[in-house]
């Protein structure tokens, strides 16, 4: 379980997050919805301890990670996988090397076990035959699947997705959303995904938190979003999100 409690984050004088509180339960898909540049990706980085809040606390499985040093955060971070918006694949490494890199870095596993785990993820991502290709030779959807495979390599309990369908064509977007949904169904994994696309939220999210002007203005089951009277949410539901 991940919990943000009264988190405030500022860059200089600019308030990015203002006393934000939200909880992500295990085996739940939670969407964080909001317009571009509002600080949604920042929430994911706070959950991983990649950035520290100015005030408030972030709990992962009941442990407050805010005062932790970088080295102490590494085992906590391995409980979660992350898929970055631009995938953050290492462009000088092949697909198999991208997936095996962190296993070799962090766990003393025999080569056979590393190969077995990598092949497992390559099959899961539907990328058999592409093991030795460089990321630049893959399509956007395929790169995203490599990034998801890499995120699963430590068998995490939760995966964090930063705009998982941004820049993808509708068919690839649908495949990625199905993949996220199947992670919960088949692997009992929870997921947090930030997005500005409301259709993605209704497609797979169990819960949604809406971030607007540095504050969470809605946090609850996805189906209850229709009941909100907040003008911003009403405008989202009227399909105006892209204009905001």
């Amino acid at each position: 379980m991940i919990e943000l409690r009264n988190v405030t984050l500022k860059y200089g004088e600019k308030v990015i997050l203002d006393k934000v509180s939200l909880t992500v339960q295990d085996n739940t898909i939670k969407a964080i919805l909001g317009p571009s540049g509002v600080g949604k990706s920042t929430i994911i980085k706070l959950m991983l301890g990649l950035i520290k809040p100015n005030s408030g606390q972030v709990f992962v499985d009941g442990v407050d990670i805010t005062p932790m040093k970088e080295a102490d955060l590494y085992p906590i971070r391995r409980k979660m996988g992350i898929v970055f918006q631009g995938n953050a694949l290492f462009d000088s490494m092949t697909i198999a090397q991208n997936m095996s890199f962190f296993l070799r870095e962090n766990l003393r596993l025999p080569d056979e076990e590393i190969s077995r785990r990598v092949m497992e993820q390559i099959r899961f991502a539907g990328l058999e035959g592409y093991e030795d290709q460089l990321p630049e030779s893959l399509s956007g959807g395929m790169k995203k699947r490599v990034a998801i495979g890499r995120a699963l390599i430590f068998n995490p309990k939760m995966i964090l997705f930063d705009e998982p369908t941004a820049g993808l064509d509708p068919v690839s977007s649908r495949k990625i959303l199905n993949l996220i949904a199947s992670l919960k169904k088949n692997n009992d994994l929870g997921a947090v995904f930030v997005t500005h696309i409301i259709d993605d939220v209704f497609a797979i999210a169990d819960e949604v938190a809406v971030l607007y002007q540095s504050k969470i203005i809605f946090d609850g089951p996805t189906e209850q979003l229709h009941e909100s009277e907040h003008p911003f949410i009403r405008s989202i539901l009227s399909d105006k999100i892209l204009e905001l």
């Binding site: 990649l50 080295a71 971070r77 992350i82 631009g86 962190f102 962090n106 430590f154």
Partner: protein
Amino acid sequence: MPLTLIGNYVDSKTLQLKELLLTMQEFFYFALRAFSTLPKAKRYWRDVLDQALICGVESIPIVLVSSISIGALMSMEVGNLLEEFGAKTMLGRSTSNAVLRELGPLLMGLMLSARYGSRNGAELGAMQISEQIDALRAFGTDPIAKLVMPRLLAALIMFVPLIALSDFAGLQTGALVAEYYHKIDPGIFWNSIYPRLAPKDFVVSFLKAPVFAIIITLVSSFNGFSARGGTAGVGRSTIKGIVASSGLVLVANFYVSKIVLDIMH
């Protein structure tokens, strides 16, 4: 009204100073962390080797070009000057001082700052912008140990032989110019160097190698890690890195010479 303007000016200057001090503090911590990860060199020996190839072997041509040109230029110009005083036999000594102690290492430092520093800044900046550095941290790898330490160690190791090569090539070129341009016998040229060579000449020369290695690697890497704002940000941080490291190389070149020569005079 003028008071308000003065107040605003003071405020903006105070803010700039605060930002500068903050950046210096961040750089200091960054450098400390880079040095503290040196014991992990065994784990990342492949990265160290890769970087040694890039900053060492692949830098040989540019180091040769700079040392040959400085050797030739010094020998030609100083030879012309000494001729006026009838002291052409001292050409070897004059050239060796310039090549070994001052201009040779300085030019090499500037060239490596442009070549290796820009490469570091651009590569790490691109990794920062594309969130690859965040990915390393997110999956439990220390990016300073993986990316900065190998660059630092490789430069510390490789800059010493590069200086030696630069000294050798610079002096040889100086000797050739002395022989064919000034018609000085090579024996006279070298005889004016060998008996007068002192340990301080080599200490000054070789001490500059690790100093430049630290400056170029850490400044360019720090700027790469600090890149923000897309591809334009990578360009900005790379330029900032080259300008800062080149400036510091110039300053360090003077102070290393001064300190060593003061101590060993």
